[in-house]
């Protein structure tokens, strides 16, 4: 489903990702691991089409994703509907006046009928326990509630793949537990997951595969999650644990 071939990306004078080759099949759940500044968030943004690779190619479901293609409004909408991104800072992701409007934003942009929009908001609010918050201003919610609203607003588009940037960051243990269960249920429902994380204690059992990025922005290791996580010496060397 997601295929990167020799992908490089850098900000002016700062190379971030170097010669990445990564292939993720549909329905897979992949943990993206690496020290701070290794380019995890950048890679997620690149996979979601927010940043164009400076070299190499990126294919989603067999189709090449490029800046020129995403300039086409219809194509961009169809692509973004299929792949969602949960930002590291959920606060930056929420901009509507109420939780209801926030979840409904994506479906409305897609031009869905208000009955369908309302059905999706209802389903997601009951899934995440947001029923009592629908009239609230997202800005005033707690960190955990914001994270749930952000996830619900991404899922309102019924994406096939989901990129999660530190989904457990800054949450209390109970909220982490419930979020883990919800993420697991998404993967069981067939959604492909690519998740940047540092919270190994709370994501145990969520992923089948782990990709370790080095400080230089290269893939240092790619293998079964349990196998990679068992190599303590390697993870310490990579400054991951």
């Amino acid at each position: 489903m997601i295929e990167l071939r020799g992908v490089c990306f850098g900000y002016p004078e700062i190379p971030v990702l170097r010669d990445l080759c990564l292939s993720i099949r549909g329905g897979e759940s992949v943990a993206l691991v690496g020290p701070n500044g290794s380019g995890k968030s950048t890679l997620l943004k690149l996979v979601c089409g927010l940043l164009p690779p400076s070299a190499g190619s990126y294919r989603f479901d067999g189709a090449e994703i490029s800046k020129a293609k995403l300039a086409d409004e219809t194509y961009a909408k169809a692509f973004h509907r299929r792949i969602g991104l949960l930002f590291q800072d959920s606060g930056a992701q929420l901009f509507c006046g109420s939780v209801y409007d926030e979840i409904a934003f994506g479906p409305r942009q897609m031009g869905l009928a208000e009955v369908e929009v309302s059905r999706r908001v209802g389903d997601l609010s009951s899934m995440f326990g947001l029923g009592s918050l629908l009239g609230r201003v997202p800005y005033h919610l707690s960190g955990g509630e914001k994270r749930k609203v952000a996830l619900a607003s991404v899922l309102a588009l019924s994406p096939d793949a989901l990129c999660l940037d530190e989904p457990m960051g800054g949450l209390d243990p109970k909220t982490k537990g419930s979020l883990k269960a919800q993420i697991a249920s998404l993967n069981s429902a067939g959604i492909t997951l690519l998740c940047a994380t540092h919270d190994f204690e709370y994501v145990d059992g969520l992923f089948s595969r782990a990709v370790v990025l080095s400080k230089e922005g290269r893939i240092a290791r790619d293998g079964p999650y349990s196998e990679v996580m068992a190599d303590r010496a390697f993870l310490e060397e990579m400054n991951v644990v």
Partner: protein, 234 residues
């Protein structure tokens, strides 16, 4: 800033009215009060404004009255020279107009959540992109204001006593706020693109036209008729 952050409804009777009709009514009210030249018409307007004010909860009434009286007092102070030059009647009339206009705006603001106000603009034909800009501006005033307060608190905690360094730090804080606002804007635009935003802001459809809306339009028409009959004309 707290008021900008969250503008919940107050539970007042006007909340179920269509916001675009409320917005249009407010515009008509302020316009006619400004154009009126007779005390009788201002008394009619005052009766209407006080009627609407009475529908608010006590705390909201006190807040609205405080704002209106402060604005009227300020107008009186500004117009004091005219009063001293013997134009007392005009001064009182103008202060009354300010009082009524601010009171009406305060009643509208107290009975309408911010989301409904922006939807009201859209209902009046204001382009979606303008409504979106307005929504974002309100959010960012609160967001950046919060960051600014945090930074000022940090500065206060790290600087003891008097010193020119404090003043110099203000420039650094302003610069940081600018960089943060740019960063947040980029993040938000990315988040919007990820959710299929392509430059057109699609808002929720307006609610259905109810009997309360019909009653409000009837009141507006009656108010216009009163202005035509004894408001002083154009």
């Amino acid at each position: 800033m707290a008021a900008l952050r969250e503008r919940p409804g107050t539970g007042a009777g006007g909340e179920h009215l269509r916001s675009e009709i409320k917005l249009a009514s407010l515009f008509v009210f302020v316009l006619l009060v400004s154009l009126s030249r007779t005390v009788l018409f201002l008394e009619t307007a005052a009766a209407l404004a006080l009627g609407c004010l009475s529908l608010l909860p006590p705390k909201a009434i006190a807040r609205a009255l405080r704002k209106a009286l402060a604005a009227a007092a300020f107008a009186l102070v500004i117009l004091l020279p005219a009063f001293l030059w013997g134009r007392g009647g005009g001064v009182v009339l103008l202060a009354a107009k300010v009082l009524l206009a601010v009171l009406a705006a305060a009643v509208f603001s107290a009975s309408t959540p911010w989301t409904s106000i922006s939807r009201g603009f859209a209902g009046l034909g204001v382009p979606g992109i303008f409504v979106m800009t307005l929504d974002m501006a309100v959010k960012y005033i609160a967001l950046l204001g919060g960051i600014l307060l945090d930074m000022l608190s940090a500065l206060k905690l790290r600087s003891v006593g008097r010193g020119e360094g404090k003043i110099d730090s203000l420039g650094a804080i302003a610069g940081t706020i600018f960089l943060k606002s740019r960063e947040a804007a980029e993040e938000q635009y990315g988040a919007m693109r990820c959710r299929c935003f392509s430059g057109k802001y699609v808002l929720a459809p307006a609610s259905r036209f109810g009997w309360a809306d019909v009653a409000l339009v009837a009141f507006d028409l009656a108010f216009c008729a009163a202005f035509a009959a004894y408001g002083g004309g154009l």
